[in-house]
Symmetry: none
Subunit: 193 residues, 4 copies
DNA sequence: TATGAATGAGCCTTCATTCAT
DNA sequence: CATGAATGAAGGCTCATTCAT
């Protein structure tokens, strides 16, 4: 009733929500969306199935929230790179941020990549993220243009593919993958010029 | 032994088998392994659920057959690249074959990538393919060594990531993705030296 | 913890559980374990198939619960006989109890005997009951020893066989079988001495 | 075409028939009627499913043939006992024959006992065998009457129960069960008088 | 907010049986 | 006589979702 207790309540709600989301992310990553069950998510999150449905109206809604929050964090982390003026510096910051995100949210990327590969599920998300990807490619093109590349679009596509390929390999090899070494290799490649 | 001409029988069996495998590939690609049902596969392949089980002992076995056949074809297509002596030429042939395989079997790659991302299902396949991937990376390292790279291992990792990233992007954008342009960009990059 | 009165809940659970077990016992008795289906059990018990699986994790588990509960009751009923000191009196009490159990739980005995005859299913239960049977035979041997039989082991085996044979015949002929008359015949046989 | 070859053919038919029946008996004994499948029977008998259906029109028919043949053999073996005049001698021969049959056809008895316990399947057989059982009990009554028992019917029931109980125990303990010892115990019991 | 009983559809799989050859 | 491809009906089991409390 008091503002204090309602604040506490809101915090608890938020904690439960995050608990569900975190557990679901783990299980989606391990078994895929169809392979993970709400029952297991609830049990592992330490709450009842019914309660899970108080927080999310469906399994699909849980997935949507995961993707939404994942992208919110990614955008948060990447905005830093946009402020850098010097193109060489910008590329370095961009790489550093990208690798940091990759490393930090590897479970999210696993789910996200799996999702994107499944037309049936991805369909509902597609439109929401189209602009995002186009924006990324666009800023890559601008970057490589200002770095003086002959064919900045081709280079941007290669660059994007390389980043996603690294992410994929990192997800799969996880603790063994030499992310740092690969990052430095990339930085060197674009500094040499 | 058999009252039916055994040749005719074998052909029928092979046709039905391929029909099941092809349909399953499509549906696994569209909905993922867990999302696709044997019922739908059978219906779309024009046969009864029971018959599908006459040909494959489980859903898992269908997936295994798909992966097995897919890799058989890939190995068939890639062996050509191994015969080329000149390193620059070899890299070009390698790229050409890789892109051809990517284009030809994009549905297979979609399923395969989705599979690799799902620890639960992948587990059973892992061992079978470990050697294959290690072999690929190994031959990439050799190639870049003979091309005179300072750190051929780092370059090989980047190269592999780039190829897989391109494959991923191609799968996702399919008819729009400028595969040819990207391929030429890559060839140019390694020819400049 | 629970929003429902937990007492009420426990009672409901127990009632549903017993309903399932009772119906399953009937159907296992009528059609055998493999011949009875969960669907039919559920329908006849007035609940959904899904709910049956909420209470028991498998058909096998239902059977196990039936056997477990059956034996619990039998042990409860037979312990009385153990307290009797005088051997003649003990044998009479033993017979009386045995025949009472036979009559009361004839459906259970039908299922149990069917089970014991099917190596595939019985396998999983064997160990659990070995000690029980050995104990029974052992106490029969002691009894006939204290009754002064020359070869108490041989007599115990015959006695056990007779009891099980009577049980079998009673199960099969049910309302017509002259259980009382047979019991008296047995008592007379061992009193004559 | 020649009488010789048609005889051969008949013998082959008979052999195949017996092969199916024998294999089915084994599997029914191990898994029960519902638990054994025609597919497994055919495979284990070394022939095709289709061929099995040339010999028996249904799974039920196989079971019927097993029971029919089993009883034919039992009747064949038991007729010897009927010729004996002296009651004491007759009882001994009867016991010896019974135990021989038990030992020789234990798999059959396992199936038969399991069958008799399952009202649903047994129903169809009941009438066919009612006379047989009544006849057996009747001859037991006569026997014990001529042996001078006060209540020959009660003794006959006990005797029958003992025999069936021994059979049950023998089936279950198989190689360990001291059949010989038990048989001698029984003979002694009835000789003492 | 929180629980867990309850449902019903659907999934993988098995199997008795039929039939073209 | 003999084969095995083919079917269709269950059967055991799972699971997203709802709902009374």
């Amino acid at each position: 009733m008091s503002p204090r207790s309602s604040q506490q309540l809101a915090r608890m709600r938020e904690e439960t929500r995050e608990k569900i989301l975190g557990t679901a992310l783990q299980l989606f990553a391990r078994r895929g969306f169809h392979g993970a069950s709400i029952g297991e998510i609830a049990r592992q999150a330490g709450l009842s199935k019914g309660l899970a449905y108080h927080y999310f109206e469906s399994k699909q809604a849980i997935l949507e929230a995961i993707i939404e929050e994942g992208f919110a964090e990614i955008e948060r982390m990447m905005t830093v790179a946009l402020d850098v003026e010097d193109p060489h510096q910008k590329l370095v910051v961009l790489l550093e941020r990208t690798f940091a995100v990759t490393e930090q949210d590897s479970e999210f990327w696993r789910v996200f990549t799996g999702l994107i590969l499944q037309p049936d599920i991805w369909e509902g998300f597609q439109q929401r993220f189209m602009k995002f990807f186009e924006g990324v490619i666009g800023s890559f093109v601008d970057l490589f243009a200002s770095l003086g590349f002959e064919d900045p679009r081709a280079e941007a596509l290669l660059f994007a593919a390389t980043l996603d390929g690294i992410m994929l390999h990192f997800i799969l090899d996880q603790p063994e993958y030499p992310l740092e070494q690969v990052k430095n290799g990339l930085i060197r490649r674009y500094q040499k010029r």
